[in-house]
Amino acid sequence: MNSERSVGNDIVFALGSDRTGMVFRNNFMDKVLTSYEKSLLSKVAEKDTFFWMIWSAKEAAYKFASRFDPQMKFLPKMHSVEGFHTYRYPLSMSKRLDGFRVSTGLEEFDSVSFLVHTAANRVTVRCVVIGEFVLGVACSCDADFKNLLWGVKRIPSDRYAVQSKSVREFARRSIADHLGINIGLIEIEESLYCAPRISVRDTDSLWPISLSHDQFGVCFSVLLE
């Protein structure tokens, strides 16, 4: 286990027109799920929701691990679920998320917790359902979730350029509000080739941050001290 701190997250617009039923398309599941993951999926009633939880857990774990290895590629079966624990089963994916939701920690939410193995790490990923979005957040241990600031926001466009700008601005605003400082003092440097970085008052922070977007949703997770 790498001793540096990291966080990874992923969002899935699970009720998107190209998402519902996608799980059962041809051999999609064979391409992305291990035998163990398929056995987990076979035991639940809400297969679509649970599938996207497993998927977001894999993506979040990948983002967690790729902070230490930017060359790492996302190969779904290589980021494999080894176990899970249900806190309270979150399946209320019927309400539309209006606006946004920002919170610290995940304790107040119904969540499923997965243990996910990556090439170099074994991480804990908690998945929650917020409106029609599935969100997965990966941390190195349960204690880290208490230091988590995260947010989910619905955006009006699914264009990549809009998603990319929206998620950065949403995270900057939320972090600034949390710290009680002007948004102009927060910068987030995002790169396609390495993990994003936060600077506060022109000084690099040590807070790992992860940004994600999918269709009409964006989310961020930042691990504060």
């Binding site: 398309r25 041809n26 391409k31 190969l75 779904p76 079966k77 699914d158 080739y193």
Partner: protein, 82 residues
Amino acid sequence: MERSDVFALLKKLIWEYLDEDGKNSDFEEHSNLLRDLHINSAHLIDLVIDVEDQFDITIEDPMLGKMTTVGSSIDVILSKLR
């Protein structure tokens, strides 16, 4: 099948997963599927399944990691067709 033929067919498959901006611009062999064309990882799996159907081939798990650019995807397809 020639490389140019594979490229033309692959372009049509990729186009389905581009956003509005992507559909209005062209791309080449060096274009990265994730970073340049912004195809998300779930749709990359969809694309692989489309490729398998289109070319009647099977792409095994280890080959997925090689399909990073349009050009490398063509390489994988051609290797399977030969």
